[in-house]
Amino acid sequence: MLGSFALRRLFPPSRAPTTSPVEYMVRSHRLRWPELLPWVVVIACYQGFPSYLALGSQVMIMVLFALSLDLIMGYAGIVTLGHAAFFGVGAYSAGLLAVHGWGEPISALAVAAVVAGLLGIVTGAVILRTHGLTLLMLTLAVVSMLSEAANKAGSITGGADGLQGITLSPLLGLFRFDMFGRTAYIYCAVVLLLAWAFMRVLVHSPFGRSLTGVRENLPRMHAIGAPVHRRLVTAYAISAALAGVAGALQAQTTQFVGLNVISFDLSGAVLIMLILGGVGRLYGAFIGAPIYLIAQDMLSRLDPVYWFFWVGLLLVVVVLFARGGILGLFDALRRRIVR
């Protein structure tokens, strides 16, 4: 790490003229046209595949979930195997509200965000004092604990049968959730758009930069007096709240909450989606989640066993040969062409 840093100091890339840090930050925050591509796809899919809108909503929910993971894993460098804890808590919050008569979707979304965010603050404040394997284990312990609790508290959560009977009132009092999933699709798209805009501002803000600093060089961040623990807990809570929103969307659009929303399996799946797309790039989630879900949809129809094998092989290959994920490969290709 130090070596490559020194090299870059010695041989600055010729294409990038030396600029001040402020200029660099402002320039990297400027919107470039490829960043709008996902939204073109979202609109095109609405027009082009009206019978696949349910899958489309599901994909967007997972994009949002993976995006939330990117904040803590890609930017702050926190490795977690328990991110589904927040997704699940959000899903159960929204689901339980709807079952008990609070059918208004948007306020339920906000409640889910607050509940998941609070859980993020509480668990984050405790577990982020550790690192390495211990941190990994603690994230795993949190999700296992909550999963076991949801399983055993069958009278509240429905246990293994799942939470049924979720009914929503029309969105904004105007748009009913139709059986073709049109309202749900647009609802998910708008929420994802807002979350993306928020995340984009966040990661380019001084706060986001300080997270990258923690990831890249923890001792130096301590040395310059950055409140490292507070920054990490804040990022963890924001990420948790976003994951909670994703979970709530899932509960509302599928009108069902099963135990799988709060499992280790889902934590692993979202990790894979993000890795597949590319970590710490903000757009990895937009690439990885659709590819994963569409491939799963197609391959597991053939045979779920083969699906597992290919996902495993893919992970091994990505880690050994393509560490930046699909976006990383894309970058490498572009660099080769430009040169």
Binding site: T130, L133, F308, V319
Partner: protein, 290 residues
């Protein structure tokens, strides 16, 4: 009072047997994690492979229990060396997340391969007749199989302790766990040491998987189902030691059995709470050095 004693004895007995299997499987993971800092989540795959191979060597191939077990252990150790030399070695310097993902990938592939070859159902281990009987002791009867596992586990624990604490090979392992660079600079070939330890750990895991197949059933989901428990043993015991995992496995095995027996409605909830508390109290594990 009289009604509690049999329950306590029973919990202790079954818990001990379970703990011994957990220990035998996890101790290799603890030592390799301590040596190389490699987060090998796929360790359970070796245990599963040991179980499958033992069953297969016995049933279609007709070996007896002991020789099937020995052949399975040797085969898994050999496979693990190949994996270590060709794949794991590329990731020693990689970040934790890459090691985690890589080994999760291996788990997925192993699950698919196991399902493809042996099908989704749990495998039955045809135990030799001796192990089917019951031992009468103090007016109670105990299944021989579990008593056998407890004895074997204790022997392995003692053997490992003696090997690590009393031989020069063990001294080299301890030196490398404490300070790999320093160990290398005084002339210890840490790479070869690691390959050997890795093979030993995988072989022990295979042994645990094979011997314990009637307690922890061998089926394709095995490496994921028990992953958390293996990791608990390592994390709570403290990485890189052989004594830590033993104590952690005892605590986990007995308390898990007690929880499931006494408070089935709470399930494994208590275990996770206890894990959480233990790791907050001693982040490096009960016997680990921070």
């Amino acid at each position: 009072m009289d009604q509690y004693v049999p329950a306590a004895v029973s919990i202790l007995f079954h818990g001990l047997a379970y703990a011994m299997i957990l220990y035998v499987i996890s101790v290799g993971l603890s030592v390799t994690m301590g040596l190389m800092g490699f987060a090998n989540l796929a360790h359970g795959v070796f245990a599963m492979a040991g179980g499958y191979l033992t069953v297969s060597f016995m049933n279609p191939l007709g070996l007896d229990f002991v020789s099937a077990l020995v052949v399975a252990v040797l085969a898994v150790a050999a496979i693990s060396v190949v994996l270590e030399r060709f794949l794991y070695v590329r990731l020693y310097e990689a970040s934790e997340i890459e090691q985690v993902l890589f080994t999760i990938g291996l788990i997925f592939m192993a699950i698919a391969v196991a399902k493809f070859i042996w099908g989704p159902l749990p495998q039955h281990l045809p135990l030799p007749g001796v192990l089917h009987s019951q031992i009468e002791m103090m007016g109670r009867s105990f299944p021989t199989y579990r008593a056998f596992i407890i004895v074997i586990g204790m022997l392995i624990a003692f053997g490992l302790w003696a090997g690590i604490e009393r031989t020069s090979f063990g001294a080299r392992i301890r030196a490398s766990v404490d300070n790999r660079r320093m160990a290398r600079s005084v002339g210890i070939d840490t790479d070869r040491l690691f390959t050997f330890t890795f093979a030993l750990g995988s072989g022990l895991a295979a042994f645990g998987g094979g011997v314990g197949a009637e307690i922890m059933a061998i089926h394709p989901g095995y490496p994921v189902e028990h992953l958390v428990y293996f990791l608990i043993v390592v994390a709570v015991g403290g990485m890189g030691s052989v004594r830590g995992p033993f104590v952690a496995a005892l605590l986990l095995g007995v308390s898990d059995t007690a929880c499931k027996y006494l408070l089935p409605e709470l399930g494994a909830f208590f275990i996770y709470v206890a894990l959480f508390a233990a790791l907050l109290w001693r982040p490096a594990g009960l016997f680990g050095r921070a």
